[in-house]
Each structure stands twice: as structure tokens, then as C-alpha cells.
């Protein structure tokens, strides 16, 4: 082990390292306890990254959009490479549908009324700052 890593170990010994924010799992549980179970499930299983949140919000606000991954990336201000797998996961989750227009692969919001209602419920809850804080905390924990 070189000097640099030894210094780092001394500065950040295992006992000091945290894998969660102050309060740990208890805080996380408290934060999620009062969340609507349906929304919490949607957050855990479907909108489980910030990019997916952006995509779900975009398709909620532009529910008739059909477009390529490249153009959708441009609309939400992200890199196309960063959203491709997220789009595909949202397709697997039943939020989006994948289609072809000539030689183009395009994505659109599902027409399933139940899924659309779940999205509406989620976006409506997102209007509340408290909810957003909790959801962001959840996503940060999930990304570790």
C-alpha cells in the first residue's frame, strides 16, 4: 500500500465511513413510511433513476410524442447514450412502447389507462416539495 492510500485510510477509517446518510436505514424508513404505497412501489420498481424520472415527466407532459432515442435525449437535455438503456427499461416496465417507423426505432407512452393513471398519480405527487425530497433521497440511496 503506498503512502497516499495509507493517508486516506487514516483520514477515512472503516468506522467513520457511512453507507447511508445520517440516521441510516431508520431515516430512510421514516421518510418512506408516510408515502403512498403505490407511488413508493412505482418509485422503487419503475422510476428508479433520475433519467427515468425525466423521461416519465417528459412523456406525461407530451403524452402524444413518438420519437427516436436521439430526439428524446435532445428534448430532455440528456446524452443519447445515457437514455437508451433507461428507455428500454421503461419499455420493459410497461410505461413506454417501442415501435418502428421505416428504419427508425421510436418510443411512445403506453396507451394502457392504468399505467397512465399511475404516472399521473406520481407526477401529481411530485408537485409536493416534501415528496420530491423523499423521492430524491430514495433515488440517491438506490444508486449506491
Amino acid at each position: 500500500m503506498n503512502d497516499e492510500s495509507e493517508n486516506f485510510q487514516e483520514w477515512n477509517p472503516p468506522a467513520r465511513r457511512r453507507t447511508t446518510l445520517p440516521g441510516g436505514a431508520d431515516l430512510a424508513r421514516r421518510l418512506m413510511d408516510d408515502m403512498d404505497p403505490e407511488i413508493l412501489e412505482f418509485l422503487k420498481t419503475t422510476v428508479n433513476t433520475f433519467v427515468k424520472w425525466d423521461l416519465v415527466l417528459f412523456f406525461y407532459e407530451n403524452s402524444n410524442t413518438t420519437d427516436t432515442a436521439d430526439n428524446i435525449a435532445r428534448y430532455i437535455g440528456r446524452d443519447a447514450g445515457a437514455i437508451q438503456s433507461e428507455l428500454d427499461e421503461l419499455v420493459s416496465a410497461g410505461v413506454l412502447v417501442r415501435d418502428r417507423a421505416a428504419d427508425l426505432v421510436v418510443y411512445a407512452l403506453t396507451r394502457d389507462a392504468q399505467v397512465r393513471e399511475r404516472i399521473r398519480h406520481f407526477v401529481s405527487a411530485s408537485d409536493d416539495r416534501q415528496f420530491r425530497v423523499k423521492a430524491i433521497y430514495h433515488l440517491i440511496r438506490g444508486s449506491r
Binding site: 407530451n62 402524444n64 410524442t65 413518438t66 430526439n71 428534448y75 417507423a101
Partner: protein, 253 residues
Amino acid sequence: MERIKTGIAGFDDMLQGGFLLHSANLIEGAPGIGKSTFGMQFIYNGITLYNQPGVILTFEEFAQQYYDDAASFGWDLRALEKADRLRVIMTSPEVSHADLARVDGRLQATLNEIGAARILVDSLSHFDRLSDDPVTRRGILYSFINSLKREGLTSVLTRESPALIGEIEGPEEDVAFVADSYILLRYVEIESAIRKAVLVLKLRGSDHAKDIRQFEITRHGIEVQAKFEGREGIMSGSPRRMADSFVEAFVRR
């Protein structure tokens, strides 16, 4: 010939009653002059005054922008969408073109779903990036516009002109070829004030007003007013009094 009224005060008179059924109508003008407002009004009036559902196909603005802009005129586009009388579709020219070219495409399904009779395409300028070759671009536009006609739509197609004021080039070959009518919206400077002018350059298969008229965007939308009296050179952007021109031409020689 059956006419499709725009419902825009003073404008249908310029067209001898309205656009022709299933026609493609190009509205060209500088940024901010009112092309999208014109198109929204054509769609909104179609739904609310003439019972003709419509689609706004946008390649630029988010749907929310249209809801907000329309709300400033008292037009509730969200309510019309909820009532299945309108769809605001944000997409790209390449996807809409490819989608309309296929059988049972998504766009076609949406048009059928609401029984759309009108469409605003905002804006056609975005087709420019699909090809640098004018012949290819013209082919794409021709096919796209024909697919709108095939679907039984009367369309308003907006297009930006780069010049804010002053002389502009004539209609581009590709657009002039495919559009059934060509409407020009222009800023003009008169006595240190900017006014807006509208001119019908072309209306295929019909007579139309040849004069240049003023228009304003009021809280009810676009209202076309009287023609510019006693001035010439309106489309240059800096009109002169006709008396001044007379003096210049004959007296000062």
C-alpha cells in the same frame, strides 16, 4: 369549391371564404410575428366554431408552450384534448414523415381517433435538416404534404423567414411547389413604429385579395384589419408615402 374557414377576423375575406378543402397552406414570416398563433387559431376555431377536430404537430415547442400561449387568448387546449377534439403532438420531421408513410402508423391512428380534419405543422423549416439536397428535400416535403391530404386534412404549415424586416428572398422552390396557398406575414416600419402586414401571395385554383393588410394580435388572437392606405413598398419593410414617391419620381428630377 368547399372552403375551410379559418375564423380569423378579416382573413377569410382575403381568401374569398377560406382555405380550400384538403389544401396545404404555407404561412411564412419572421420569428415572433404570429405564425404559431395563426395556426393555433385555425385549429381552435376549427374545433369550437366549425366542429372540425384538429392536431398540432410541433417539431420545436413542448406541448406546454402551446397550452400556455393559447391560454393567454382564452383558448383552453387541455380541455379540448380531454374532450378528444385535439391532440398536441411533439415529434420530429423524420419520425412524422416515416410514420405517415407506413400503413397504420401511430400518427394515422391518432388522426382517426379524434376524426381530425385540420392540422398545424409547426414548423416546416425543420425539414431543412433532413437533407442538404434540394431535390431530395422537395421529394420529402411533397410526400409529407400529400400524406396529410391523403388523411383528409386541411393543413397550415408554418415556415420561418430569417429576415426580421426589409427585403426577403422569394419563396423557396421546394415550398412554393408543394403548397396550395402561400401567406406572407411581415413586419413593417411606419413612422418609427413596427406594424404587421399580411399578404396572400398565392391561392391555387382561386382568386384572392391582392392587397397588403395590417393585422394585430389582440387578446382574442389575430385580427386582420384594413389595407395600408397611401403607402407603397410595404413588403420592403420600410414603406413610403405614395405622395413622397411621386415627388421623388417627378418633382425632384
